[in-house]
Amino acid sequence: MNPVNYLYLAALLFTIGASGVLIRRNAIVLFMCVELMLNASNLALVTFSRLHGNLDGQIIAFFTMVVAAAEVVVGLAIIVSIFRTRHSASVDDSNLMKL
């Protein structure tokens, strides 16, 4: 199969994630969209690694996964704690520091 198709898929996934980040308000959904974008870039990295025949892309993809895992832990904790105090997961409601 032509590896370029994987790149198309990665671009598609990234676009879906980005539109989700821009459109949705729910923090959880936003979060999932961010994950989608990260994974799309992972896919692109791995594809390029395959295309060029070296392992750099795959190593970076591992790094990204580790960072994403850490980020999910911290981010979800924050979202849960906000939801507990404010009874809302909407990002527009957290506006205490807005002028």
Binding site: L22, V91, L99
Partner: protein
């Protein structure tokens, strides 16, 4: 002996410092301290004078270097003094008459609670004037020159609670400033032309300079002299300066300040002798002022302002004489000395009259004072006879010599100048006789003051009359003493040079003409004011009289020609500043503010809109990169 020279300046300067910084502790005896400082300076002057008399003419000028002021490569300014026949004459006049005026002020200012400060200023005035005449370079002279301006400002505005006095002080200061600019430009020109500013350096190199350079310097020096000596066109401050206490007027008019211009021109004789155009300008200024002051003096009802007009006119005589070159220098200074005596005497007399008449200055409210104030009457009368040039008294000798010198200029110029000085003599006799008749003769025209008190004229205390008596002696004998055997001429000749000129008229004829003019003036004044009662309210008078009452429209002229265009220019600049510059700056600020307030809307606090702008930015970057690579 020479080390005494700095002490001449130091004594009054120390007096001024003590009195001005000493505080209330000195209030009780401060006035005597001030008088003592002036007298001490006079004694030093006398000692130096007699030691100078003992030397031969060539060895008389002495220099005393005090310290280096600005020692820079290519420019040397020293604080060093030069005492020669000319400066010592001034020193004696300044300190002698100055001391008498100090003494008089003790009585005159007795009831003024700021008397200590007054004496501090008087001492400062003397110190500045002494510095001016003792300096051996123009830069140090300039220091004294400015000091005189400062002291006159402080003294004219001494009664600063009166708005008129405060205004008069400012006016004197500003008008003097115009002259000071002239002097500073002259000094700069000297430096560029000759490379130094000492008297010896400049005069020694003067004959190598081009005529246009010398004329420029001469005209600038003349401008300076016009400011200090109240000559046309910078004379307008002198009349208003009468707002100061009367001893100040005496000091300004007799011993200091107005004589500075005559000193400057005489001292710079070496420059003027080589610049005939500048000399002509000096003569013209002198001749115009001579008549100008005399005409103003005729119309004024205020006794001090009449005397101020007279000063202007007499200084005009001196400037005219100084402009005649070597023919006139000696007589300019001689008239200056005799004038110092009788003008100081006249002013002190006027002050005494005002003292007795509850500070009334309008001569139309005087009359018949000769019996009540006999000492004032006699001393004022002798001053009067001296100033009109009554034979045998001081003014006769000096003024007669100036008129002779004017004729001796030769040619048409000589005739014109001679005629002007003769007319001046007649007008002088007229207005001084008028002052005399209005004040001391005729019936009493005393007016009650605002609260209805009738004035009770009385003779002034001894501290005031003593100086008047001494000055009266000077008014009578000084001229004869100086003229006797041409002693003053021989004394000053080594410094100023002298030439006889060739007069078309013999000196006897000139003297007779002068006498005739004087008698005509006196007779006319007697016919107008002496034979019929003088109205208390001044008659409307002719156009000329009304103009003369307003200082020959000098203030109106200044107002129309200088003040109004100046205000208009200032208003235009303010308009340009507020509308043009401020408009541009404010407009820029408003534009930026408007753009910012629109841009601010982008910052709406929603995360996704920031994310959108990040995506947008990334998109632009990627697109640009791709575009660049494809090109």
């Amino acid at each position: 002996m020479n080390s005494l020279i700095p002490l001449l300046v130091a004594a009054p300067l120390a007096g001024a410092a003590l009195l001005l910084l000493g505080g209330r502790a000195l209030d009780r005896f401060g006035h005597w301290l001030g008088t003592f400082a002036a007298a001490l300076s006079f004694v030093f002057g006398l000692v130096l004078f007699f030691s100078m008399l003992g030397r031969s003419a060539a060895q008389r000028p002495v220099q005393e270097h005090l310290f280096s002021w600005v020692p820079v490569n290519g420019f040397q300014a020293d604080v060093s003094f030069q005492l020669d026949q000319l400066s010592v004459t001034f020193v004696l006049l300044i300190t002698g008459v100055g001391t008498l005026i100090h003494l008089y002020s003790v009585g005159y200012m007795a009831h003024d609670e700021r008397r200590r400060r007054f004496f501090g200023y008087l001492n400062l005035f003397l110190a500045a004037m002494l510095l001016l005449v003792l300096a051996d370079n123009y830069l140090l002279l300039y220091v004294g020159w400015e000091g005189v301006g400062l002291a006159s400002y402080l003294l004219i505005g001494f009664w600063q609670h009166k708005p008129s006095a405060a205004t008069a002080a400012k006016k004197a200061f500003l008008v003097n400033r115009v002259g000071d600019v002239g002097l500073s430009i002259a000094i700069m020109l000297m430096f560029t032309d000759f490379g130094n500013v000492t008297f010896n350096g400049v005069f020694g190199a003067a004959d190598q300079a081009s005529k246009s350079q010398l004329t420029a310097i001469g005209l600038m020096l003349l401008l300076a002299a016009c400011g200090k000596s109240a000559q046309v066109p910078l004379q307008s401050w002198l009349g208003d300066a009468m707002e100061g206490p009367t001893p100040v007027s005496a000091l300004i008019h007799a011993a200091t300040m107005v004589t500075a211009g005559v000193y400057l021109i005489t001292r710079s004789g070496a420059i003027f002798n080589l610049a005939p155009q500048a000399q002509t300008a000096v003569v013209c200024v002198g001749a115009v002022t001579l008549l100008f002051g005399a005409i103003v003096g005729c119309a004024k009802d205020d006794i001090k302002k009449a005397l101020a007009g007279s000063t202007m006119s007499q200084i005009g005589y001196m400037i005219l004489a100084a402009g005649l070159g070597p023919i006139g220098y000696v007589f300019a200074i001689m008239h200056l000395v005799t004038h110092g005596f009788f003008k100081a005497g006249l002013f002190l007399g006027a002050g005494s009259v005002m003292h007795g008449m509850d500070d009334e200055v309008n001569m139309r409210h005087y009359g018949g004072l000769r019996k009540l104030m006999p000492i004032t009457f006699v001393t004022f009368g002798l001053g009067y006879l001296a100033i009109i040039g009554f034979p045998g008294l001081s003014g006769f000798f000096s003024k007669d010599k100036i008129i002779e010198a004017a004729f001796a200029k030769g040619g048409t110029e000589g005739w014109i100048l001679g005629a002007v000085t003769l007319i001046g003599a007649a007008v002088t006799a007229f207005y001084m006789t008028r002052v005399m008749i209005l004040t001391f003769f005729g019936e009493k025209r005393w007016q009650p003051d605002a609260e209805g008190h009738q004035p009770h004229p009385h003779e002034s205390p001894a501290t005031m009359t003593t100086p008047m008596i001494v000055l009266a002696f000077g008014s009578v004998f000084a001229g004869g003493l100086l003229a006797f055997n041409s002693s003053f001429l021989k004394w000053l000749e080594p410094i100023t040079g002298h030439s006889e000129g060739n007069s078309p008229l013999s000196s006897t004829v000139v003297t007779l003409l002068t006498m005739a003019c004087m008698l005509a003036g006196v007779g006319l004044a007697y016919a107008v004011y002496g034979r019929s009662p003088v109205p208390v309210t001044p008659p409307v008078g002719s156009v000329l009289t009304r103009a003369a009452r307003r200082d020959l429209l000098q203030d109106d002229f200044n107002h129309a020609v200088l003040v109004r265009p100046g205000s208009a220019l200032a208003a235009a600049l303010v308009y340009f500043d507020s509308k043009g510059l401020d408009g541009f700056v404010n407009g820029l600020a408003a534009t930026i503010g408007g753009i910012s307030s629109r841009l601010r809307r982008v910052q709406n606090g929603y995360v996704r809109s920031y994310a959108l702008s990040m995506f947008g930015g990334t998109l632009v970057l990627v697109a640009t990169t791709l575009l660049m690579r494809s090109v």
